[in-house]
Amino acid sequence: MSMVKYILKRLLMLIPVMVGISLFIYLVLSLAPGDPARMILGMDALPEDIEALREELGLNKPLLIRYGLYMWDALHGDFGTSWYQRFDVASEFFHRLPNTFWLAFIANAFSIIIGIPVGIIAAVRHNKPADYVVTFFSLLLCSAPGFWLGMLAQLLFCIRLGWLPSSGVGSFAHFILPALTMGGGIIAINMRTTRTWLLDSIRSDYVRTARAKGAREGRVIVHHAMRNSMLPVITGLGMNFAACMAGTAVTETVFAIPGIGSFITTGVKTKDIPIVLCSVIIIALMVGLVNLIVDIIYAVVDPRVKLGS
C-alpha cells in the first residue's frame, strides 16, 4: 500500500474517533447543572429575556440535534461565542494557539536534545556513577509536580539571579523556563527509554559482531546500536506531545502565558462551557494528527513496518 493511501486511510479512521470524542465531551458538558441562559443573564433577568436567549442559543432543541448543529458549525470554523465575555471562541483559540504551539515545540525539542544524549551516556556507562546519577534524576523529574519545579526555577533564575524573564511571552528567552517546566517529565521519559532500549541493543548479537569485526566503540554505539534503539523513542514522541498538552494548563498558569492552557483554565473556572468544548475538541484532534505523523515517521525509519498491515 502506498504512503498516500495509508495516510488517507488513517485520516478516515480519525473521523469516528473525533465524532466519539466530541459527542462524549458535548454530552458531559451538557450535564452541567443550571440553565445557561439564566447564568448568562443573571438571577434577576426577565423570563421573556431568558426565553429569547434560550431560543438564540438553541437550548430548546433536543440534545442530539443541538450536538449535530454544533458540529456542523464547528466544521465551518464556528465554535460558538463565549457565554460571559461574548467573544468568538474559535478566533480567540487560534489567536492563543501559537504561544502554546511554540511552548510544546520547544519542550519536545529539549526532550530530544537533552533526553537522548543523556540516556546514551547512561547506557554506555551502565552501572557506573554516571548511570546512577542519570537514573536518579530522571526518576526525580518524573515524580515532581511540573508546576512546582517551574515555580522554583522561576524563583531561582528570574527573581534571584535575574537571568531570564519571569512571565509573559515575546522572545525565545521567555520560553526557555516554561518549556523546561512543561518538558521536565518528557525529558525524563526520553532518558529512560533511550537508556533501556540502548542497553537492550548493546547486548544483542549484531552489536557483538560489530565489535568483533573491529569497529570502534563510538561507531558501534552510534551506527549499529542506536538505530534500533531509537524506534521506541520515536513511538514515544506522540505520547510525549499529549503529555505536553496536558501540562499546558499548569505551565501557562505559573508563567502567565496567554495560551490554550490558561484559556481552558479560565473556561473551567468561570464555567464558560463553549471555551472548554472548543479547546478539548481541537486539542484531541491535534493529538490524533501528531500520532499519525509519528506513525508515518516510524514507518519511514523502520523498513520492517509494512504500512496498513
Binding site: 469516528p16 474517533v17 458538558l29 509536580p145 498558569t253 473551567v268 490524533g288
Partner: protein
C-alpha cells in the same frame, strides 16, 4: 485424598508468595519507598493524636510568616496558619483521594477489561472504542472538562480523575486477558462446564492481578500529581481545605520572600510520588521474573 490436595495447593501458594516477597525485598529502592510510605501513612493517620485540626485553619495575624522553628516545624503562612499541620492534614486528603481514584479505576478497569478481553466480538469493540475515545484526550484536560461540567468539589474531582484513569486500567486488563483466553487450562475449565463468570473470577482474575497491581501503583503516583495540579489551578480541592497542591497555590505569591512555603509541600508531593514509583518498580520485578531475564 481431597484434603491432601488442598494442603498441597495452599503450600504451593504460600511458597510463591514467599518468593515474591523475597524478590521484592532484594530491591533496595522499593524497600526504601515502602518504608517512606508506611511512615507517611502512620504520620497522617495518627495526626489527630499530636496535632489538632484547629491549627490547620486557625488564623492569627501576629503569627504570620514565621520561619521554621521548634514551635512551627515548617513555619507559618500569610494567615499565620501552621504549615506543618496543613501539610499533615493535607496529606490525608491527597493520599485519600489518590487511593479512592485508583481504587475506582482498578475495579472498573478490571470489569471492563475482563468483559472486553473474554467475550470479544461486539462487547470488545464497543468497550475498546470507548476507551480509545477517552484516551485520545490528555488525562488532565479530560478531568478538567468533567469538573467544569459537574462542578467543583472532592466527589466530582474523584469521578473526573477516575474516568480519565479507567481506560488505562481497562487496556492493561484486556491485553492480559487476551493472552490467557486461549490457554489450555481455560479451555479445560470450559470443557468441564464451568460458568463463564466463574472462569473469569477463579481462573482469569488471579492471573491478571499482578500486572494490574503494577499498573495501579504506577497510576497512583501520577494520580496524586494530577490531584495536586488541579488543586494548584484552583479547580480541585478549594482552599482553605488543605491539599498539597492547593497549599502550594495559596503560597505562590509569597514564595519570593518565603521560599520554604512553596518548597516544603512540593517536596512532600515529590517524595510520595517517588516512593510509589519505587514500589511499583519493585513489584514489577517481583511479580514478573520473566521480564527481567
Amino acid at each position: 485424598m481431597k484434603k491432601q490436595i488442598t494442603e498441597k495447593n495452599t503450600c504451593k501458594k504460600s511458597s510463591q508468595l514467599k518468593m515474591i516477597v523475597k524478590r521484592f525485598g532484594k530491591n533496595r529502592l522499593s524497600i526504601i519507598g515502602m518504608v517512606i510510605i508506611l511512615i507517611l501513612v502512620a504520620a497522617i493517620a495518627l495526626a489527630p493524636l499530636y496535632c489538632s485540626y484547629d491549627k490547620v485553619i486557625q488564623q492569627s495575624l501576629s503569627q504570620r510568616f514565621l520561619s521554621p522553628s521548634a514551635e512551627h516545624f515548617f513555619g507559618t503562612d500569610q494567615y499565620g496558619r501552621d504549615l506543618f499541620a496543613r501539610i499533615v492534614y493535607g496529606g490525608r486528603i491527597s493520599l485519600f483521594c489518590g487511593l479512592v481514584t485508583i481504587g475506582i479505576a482498578f475495579v472498573a478497569g478490571m470489569v471492563l477489561g475482563c468483559a472486553a478481553g473474554f467475550f470479544g466480538g461486539m462487547t470488545d469493540t464497543i468497550i475498546m472504542r470507548f476507551c480509545d475515545v477517552l484516551m485520545a484526550i490528555p488525562g488532565l484536560l479530560l478531568a478538567m472538562a468533567i469538573v467544569s461540567a459537574l462542578g467543583q468539589g472532592i466527589g466530582n474531582m474523584l469521578i473526573a480523575l477516575s474516568i480519565s484513569q479507567i481506560p488505562r486500567e481497562a487496556r492493561t486488563a484486556r491485553s492480559c486477558v487476551m493472552t490467557l483466553r486461549n490457554q489450555e487450562y481455560i479451555e479445560a475449565a470450559k470443557t468441564c462446564g464451568t460458568s463463564r463468570f466463574r472462569i473469569i473470577w477463579r481462573h482469569i482474575v488471579p492471573n491478571i492481578l499482578g500486572p494490574m497491581i503494577i499498573d495501579v501503583m504506577m497510576g497512583l503516583g501520577s494520580t496524586i500529581l494530577r490531584i495536586a495540579s488541579l488543586g494548584f489551578l484552583g479547580i480541585g480541592i478549594a482552599s482553605p481545605t488543605p491539599e498539597w497542591g492547593t497549599i502550594i497555590s495559596e503560597n505562590q505569591i509569597n514564595i519570593r520572600y518565603y521560599p520554604y512555603l512553596g518548597i516544603i509541600p512540593g517536596l512532600f508531593i515529590m517524595i510520595t510520588v517517588l516512593s510509589f514509583n519505587f514500589i511499583g518498580d519493585g513489584l514489577r520485578d517481583a511479580l514478573d521474573p520473566k521480564m527481567k531475564n
